[in-house]
């Protein structure tokens, strides 16, 4: 099973790295060799030890045993400054930028060229612009970080590494926050770096990206090295088997299902943005029927969030009508919507979905604590809560350190999401709204979430999915509504459409005259 390709000329060798934490061997005798000028993917599920290994390389942790070599010389990396001095740079998953500084100021932060205490910005600007042009990293040096898109922020992070003349570039899940177009662009840029002779370590769990750009791939599972393979000699299926230890089905198994009655109906919905006061949702109308998954697809920031907020009651629409099971809920309270059968897996699980400082069991009843099952005259029945939590934990396989009493903040992202899904699915509902339910999850967890959504559909529930992931959109939805600048510009059937066509609609290059939805189904 273990295939190690050995060809010499390694710029970085991490040899037999072991890093233990009490109770956990995060890295167990792991060897990773990075060749000069290659793109080397590091693949593994959450908790597989990728982060720990990269932290060792970046000087954040000291390994318990093993050594690191650069160009064959043993080096000791005690802190990120040492790493930087060795030419190792890292783009963190969560950008480390000063929001109120300009792009240029962020790039030179810490290595400002100065004369007698005065910053020589012109010099820096010249170098930054040269780099920017050379690698096609479009940035506006004088824009403030808080004003620019996530994609541009990432380019700033990359320029930071280049400005410091790093030759070993670590990308920690760089595509998680990008739109499909930006991802394509980034992958091109990474290829450009490799051609330049820079060496790239690319942490990801998106197999398509690995297949597209990586030369080799090292797979970790539960702290152990599973193997390093040449990407051109392997397949997605093999990589995923190495990562998860079992077969993963990529195409979701979905039975034919005839949609039933209309559960959610949205008519002429308009929402004004709280931020800039302009209409961000324009005259949107659609239905979701029992037993179908309708997906709103689009590039982030085209009004999806506002549509969902209006449906779930987090935001007030300016006009339009929202019906749930035939009841007008346009102005209903969130609680009323919940009682009428709406479940909501929110986009931001930390902001909306969970009270992070509450115990798991308290979070599992967040939508139901007031129901007779869990309260008696205003007092919460903690024994019922505990029993219910234990049931959900077992049924949905939510893993945590201390079971029901675990503080949710200490749980992994995947298990936090499982907790939300368990809560929303187990609650009595007819409509499930899931907003980017797989964001930031590893492949095993994604498969799990997809399975749950399809199961809901098969159980005759209406599912409204908002997703930025094209694969997800194509795989699990029954109908696709493409949103562009607050308008539904097309309705597609995933069986008859292609990724390319979907992309054209999403970018606004193509649009249908939206057919009037037949209002006969309404009361």
């Amino acid at each position: 099973m273990v295939k190690v390709v050995d060809m010499g000329d390694y710029i970085i060798e991490m040899l037999n790295i072991t890093k233990k934490f009490p109770g956990v061997v995060a890295n167990d005798n792991i060897t990773l060799k990075l060749k000069r000028g290659e793109i080397h993917a590091l693949l593994g599920e959450n908790g597989a030890g990728k982060s720990t290994l990269m932290s060792v390389l970046f000087g954040l942790y000291q390994p318990d045993s093993g050594e690191i070599r650069k160009n064959g010389q043993v080096v000791k990396i005690n802190n990120p400054n040492d790493a930087n001095a060795l030419g190792i740079g890292m783009v963190h998953q969560h950008f480390k930028l000063v929001e109120i500084f300009t792009v240029l100021e962020n790039i030179i932060l810490g290595v400002e060229p100065s004369k007698m205490g005065f910053i020589q910005k012109n010099e820096a600007r010249k170098k930054v612009m040269e780099l920017s042009e050379k690698y096609g990293l479009r940035v506006d040096p004088d824009a403030y970080i808080e004003d620019i898109t996530v994609g541009m922020q990432q380019r700033v992070e990359i320029l930071k590494m280049l400005y410091r003349d790093n030759e070993i570039l670590i990308f920690d899940e760089p595509t998680a926050v990008l739109t499909p177009q930006e991802i394509r662009e980034l992958l091109q840029i990474m290829k450009g770096f490799a051609r330049e002779g820079k060496s790239i370590l690319f942490i990801t769990h998106k197999l398509n990206e690995i297949m597209e750009v990586a030369d080799r791939c090292t797979v970790l599972r539960k702290g152990k090295l599973i193997g390093t393979v040449n990407v051109k000699d392997t397949t997605k299926e093999e990589l995923s088997r190495m990562m998860v230890g079992r077969d993963i089905s990529f195409s979701v198994n979905k039975k034919e299902k005839k949609p039933g009655k209309v559960v959610l109906s949205v008519r002429n919905l308009n929402v004004v943005s709280k931020i800039h006061g302009k209409n961000v949702v324009k005259n949107v109308s659609f239905d979701v029927r029992a037993g179908e998954i309708v997906c709103i697809a689009g590039i982030d920031g085209n009004g999806q969030t506002e549509i969902v907020n209006a449906i779930t009651g987090l935001e007030k629409p300016t006009s339009g009508k929202i019906m749930l099971n035939g009841h007008d809920i346009t102005r209903a309270s969130i609680r009323e919507r919940s009682i009428r059968g709406m479940s909501h897996i929110p986009e931001d699980r930390h902001k909306h979905g969970l009270v992070l400082d509450y115990k798991l069991e308290e979070n599992l009843v967040l939508q139901r604590y007031w129901q007779p099952e869990f309260q008696n005259r205003g007092f919460i029945k903690f024994d019922s809560v505990r029993k219910y939590a234990e049931k959900l934990i077992e049924k949905f396989d939510i893993r945590s350190g201390q079971g029901p009493v675990t503080i949710v903040r200490s749980m992994s992202g995947g298990n936090q999401q499982k907790a939300i899904i368990a809560r929303e699915i187990d609650k009595d509902h007819d409509l499930l709204i899931a907003v980017q339910p797989t964001r930031g999850l590893d492949i095993g967890a994604i498969e799990y979430v997809h399975k749950q959504l399809v199961e809901r559909r098969d159980a005759g529930k209406a599912v409204l999915l908002v997703s930025l992931e094209l694969d997800e959109v194509m795989d699990i939805s029954d109908r696709i509504l493409v949103i562009y600048e607050g308008e539904i510009v097309g309705e597609l059937n995933p069986k008859t459409t292609t990724m390319e066509e979907l992309g054209l609609y999403m970018s606004g290059a193509k649009r249908d005259v939206v057919k009037e939805i037949n209002d006969a189904g309404e009361e």
Binding site: K20, S55, H94, E173, I334, L356, Q375, F379, L441
Partner: protein, 387 residues
């Protein structure tokens, strides 16, 4: 080194349980705040008058034990304002208006005491309830502003401290039944309006402290066991999630501020209705345009008690204890101002107790359980990775 090793062995086996226990760690941080505060207080005393520093310091620390009755008597109002501030804090609201609510509570209690003719057996009880209502009114207004107009409750409640104080001073001065103008104070309350004394000689300690402690326990039960407490804490931890879960955030803000105000108002009632050890006299209110200090002391009490109702009971008694000891230190020549400084230092440090908490626990973990900290960091990383 030997010492450290033995300490190491002692701390090793259950270090994790202890340092991970939030009740324990906040208790520990409070103790540490007190300890550092005392050391600084001692330094202040050394600088002020070195000769008597040790005697004076001993009086501050231990003097309260000689006057247990008074300690509990003076603890009563600050316990109530402390509970008030702490309760609002659980919801994420900073009720800095405890002083105004406290003053309104005093006024309402006085008004009922003087102006209403009620049977002796229930007169003081009705006066206490009136105090609660007075404070509630003064708490509910910032609550309404916050809930309906999103005006920061800190600003409104500070302003209501002044509005309340001037209003009460004005109303009392204009009422000849309550006010004796040549003595610039209210008249003595009749004995039947005073709260029954607990009968400890030379002390005014009364039923108020018992009631205050019971209220503290009730608040604890409300916060821990009820739906209202669940919603309140959820809102305090994460307003967005509570909204998402369909909790009525605005309603809860108003109710919380009403209860917090009521608690402070009750503190005012307990203070003004307290019996006097001297027969024929009573507590009096002096309308001299000064904001009630007990309101602000309540903030310190709540901070030291980590906003936990039970913790607040202990911290109120402790601060009262130090204050009583402080008055004794004036016997050895310390000016009351110095005592105030020392107490202020302790209270000041208590404000840092949460910071100290993490710093101290971090220190323990670094020195006695290195791996543990790394592990935590790693867990943090894993969480980040998952995001």
């Amino acid at each position: 080194m030997q010492e450290r090793n033995s300490l190491l062995n002692k701390t090793k086996f259950n270090l994790k349980d202890i340092t991970d226990n939030s009740v324990f760690s906040s208790f520990l941080s409070a103790l540490l705040a007190i300890f550092l505060g005392l050391i600084f207080g001692f330094i202040v005393m050394l600088v002020a008058a070195p000769a008597n520093a040790l005697t004076g310091f001993r009086l501050i620390v231990l003097g309260g034990f000689r006057r247990i009755g008074d300690v509990f008597y003076f603890a009563t109002p600050i316990l109530m304002t402390g509970l008030s501030v702490g309760f609002a804090f659980k919801m994420g609201l900073f009720n800095i208006g405890a002083s105004g609510q406290y003053t309104m509570g005093m006024f309402f209690a006085l008004y009922v005491g003087f102006m209403w003719d009620l049977p002796d057996s229930i007169h003081w009880i009705v006066a206490c309830i009136a105090g609660f209502i007075g404070g509630m009114l003064w708490g509910i207004i910032p609550g309404l502003f916050k809930a309906l107009l999103n005006v920061n409750e800190v600003i409104t409640s500070i302003m209501f401290n002044y509005i309340g104080m001037y209003l009460v001073d004005m109303l009392i001065q204009g009422n000849s039944v309550m006010y004796v103008s040549d003595k610039t104070r209210t008249r003595y309350l009749p004995a039947e309006v005073q709260i029954p004394s607990l009968g400890i000689p030379n002390s005014n300690v009364n039923l108020g402290i018992i009631l205050a402690i019971i209220i503290g326990i009730i608040l604890y039960i409300v916060l821990q066991k009820t739906i209202f407490g669940y919603e309140l804490k959820a809102t305090g931890y994460n307003r967005f999630a509570s909204e998402y879960a369909g909790m009525k955030g605005k309603r809860n803000i108003i109710i919380t501020m009403a209860i917090a105000g009521g608690l402070s108002g009750l503190g005012g009632a307990f203070a003004i209705l307290a019996p006097s050890a001297i027969a024929g006299s009573s507590m009096t209110y002096e309308p001299i345009n000064i904001i009630a200090a007990n309101g602000f002391n309540g903030i310190a009490v709540a901070l030291l008690g980590n906003a936990h109702p039970i913790g607040t009971i202990f911290s109120a008694v402790f601060i009262s204890h130090i204050q009583r000891g402080g008055t004794l230190a004036s016997l050895v020549g310390y000016k009351p101002e110095i005592i105030d400084v020392v107490i202020a230092v302790i209270i000041y440090f208590s404000a840092f107790s949460m910071i100290m908490n993490s710093a101290f626990i971090g220190f323990i973990k670094r020195h006695f359980g290195k791996g543990k900290k790394d592990f935590d960091d790693n867990m943090d990383n894993e969480i980040k990775e998952a995001e």
